[in-house]
Symmetry: C2
Subunit: 390 residues, 2 copies
Amino acid sequence: MNATITDFVGRPAVAPVSRVEAFIRANEFDRPTLVLDTKAVANQYHALKAGLGRAHIHYAVKANPAREIVEELVNLGSHFDAASRGEIELCLSLGAAPETISFGNTIKRASDIAFAYHAGITLFAADAEEELEKIAEHAPGAEVYIRLIVDASEADWPLSRKFGCARDKALDLLAMATRLGLKPVGFSFHVGSQTRRAEMWTTTLDQIAEIWHRAHAQGHQLTLLNIGGGFPAFYGEAIDHPTKYSARVMALVTERFGDVERVMAEPGRGLVAEAGMIAAEVLLVSRKSNDDAHRWVYLDIGKFSGLAETMDEAIRYQFITDRDAEPTGPCILAGPSCDSADVLYEKRPVQLPVGLKAGDRFIIRNCGAYTSSYSSVGFNGFPPLDVIVI
Amino acid sequence: MNATITDFVGRPAVAPVSRVEAFIRANEFDRPTLVLDTKAVANQYHALKAGLGRAHIHYAVKANPAREIVEELVNLGSHFDAASRGEIELCLSLGAAPETISFGNTIKRASDIAFAYHAGITLFAADAEEELEKIAEHAPGAEVYIRLIVDASEADWPLSRKFGCARDKALDLLAMATRLGLKPVGFSFHVGSQTRRAEMWTTTLDQIAEIWHRAHAQGHQLTLLNIGGGFPAFYGEAIDHPTKYSARVMALVTERFGDVERVMAEPGRGLVAEAGMIAAEVLLVSRKSNDDAHRWVYLDIGKFSGLAETMDEAIRYQFITDRDAEPTGPCILAGPSCDSADVLYEKRPVQLPVGLKAGDRFIIRNCGAYTSSYSSVGFNGFPPLDVIVI
């Protein structure tokens, strides 16, 4: 297991070097490279599953669609949450059974619904009338769950209102689905990305439980509760152990929903983030003026080549350099592109060794999630983030 | 010429349909597709060149690296501003002479400097000591220009402090370049992306002229002034005609700098934005609750598949639908991915036809710049933005 994921109290790692870090230190890379350890993914799957119990894990493929990760999870018995036809094809091509794949994007092209239906997918998400109409036409008789908006989130990165519908409207959609010949089986929601403590789920679960019981009272025999993602990764702030965390979430679910027939959980970040590190390089260290209090440190990777989640400085990665024993000073961290928006951390500068210079190796920890797939095809002529699976 | 670029007073287009729009209307697309017209690029090149006169146009390849565009510009005698080894290789492979290519990124990998030097590139940008050291080591004797920070910008999208150095420091860097055996030939700056009126250059040019003359007074025989980009495209707000605009900028330059031996201009957006439109599709129209004042309109393209410049709602694209004769209402516009940050316009909603629905064609105007290259490799399993050149 990746050493860092045992570091639950948020101390700087004094843990043994992980397989990924050892691999990076033993090799040279001519461009930024994400190194992934499928064993670390497997360990994390087991740790989450031990807490989730009877809930099915539907891995959110968008977090990292590396074939080796999906294949490993197929072998472990994981189910999958797919955002697109492309992700469904990926899962099927690696041996996932169609009945283990849910089409969880509430915004689907009609022809992709038809594709999924003919491929054997039977479970779809929706949050609007028009989406139900498309599903009824192109996947007649399918099971649907209605995605709900969550009002209050205690996540590090609360979601926008983009997905889901208001709770009152959800009851109308259940009725409409039935009229259209679909099978409305339940609700889904998302507690917010990187919800660091299990107790932070309480308010959201209270909201969802209220409408769940109201739906039952109206005669909807709901059998499926999809609790979505939000399972955290370690980025420097303390998080619970994955088993303890997911067991507590399930206890909170059971307190409110009783013995629901099917519970789905959709970890993405929480499954794969800690299984990968990026091998990067310092390209330039400078000061803008002779009395500049901050250094600027420019890496060979930036916002458009894998580190998109530094947007608004939301996710704060941790770093390893060969000079970590040196004193540190405040730095603004930026990417290599000719784009002034390609600055990673400026509002809250990062502390980096005073001797850091061009050519230094720069390892970015716990970035197995939402990096390789966000990478641009070639912004500024830089190749996409390379991926190596060990 | 693309009809929209004659629309300089900012009215909704009543102009004749452009070749790009006609092509999109005559074809079906199974995924979002950027359609580019190299004739429109050529026309814009001529229009800018007519105003820029003796200044060399160095096309900022990062704006759109389509091979057909670069090839067209090589044939027209354009020079090039390259951000990376990849862009240099692209230009060389399409027949650009090495002496017409400047390596304008101030953040360069040492091995890429060596590559460029051996390929015959002789002109490099720098804004820091360490960068000069790398250039001196890997491109001995090369010409360098020093990039300056601009304090005040009147651009729609002012740049951050990521590039350039303070003006006092620039003088030190000129001296250091000489000590290192390099040829410090001049300065560069960037007035800010999408500087809509030529008069908005005045303050910046005043700042640069002050340090330019100070450098001369200190004995630096500067011969090169790189005025960078900032040339605007039409996104709905009035802009000057490109010839009038660039002639006025050159007049402002001459007033302040006299008869500089070499002037470089680096239009990117201003050369190619209006030469392209994206053929997209509406995937879903919904309301979050029954009394929601706004509709949500979801497209098959979003922030991670080409429309990255909607970040902070900075660039506001214009749209064409088949229902533009209908009354309109306020909409929040979002992309198709399962990412809550993939919302294009929410703070300032867009007006769209009331009858808009899933399956409708949705054309995005003037998006030939900074779309295809920003596109992710496959976020959420969606393929990168397709490109067709007509």
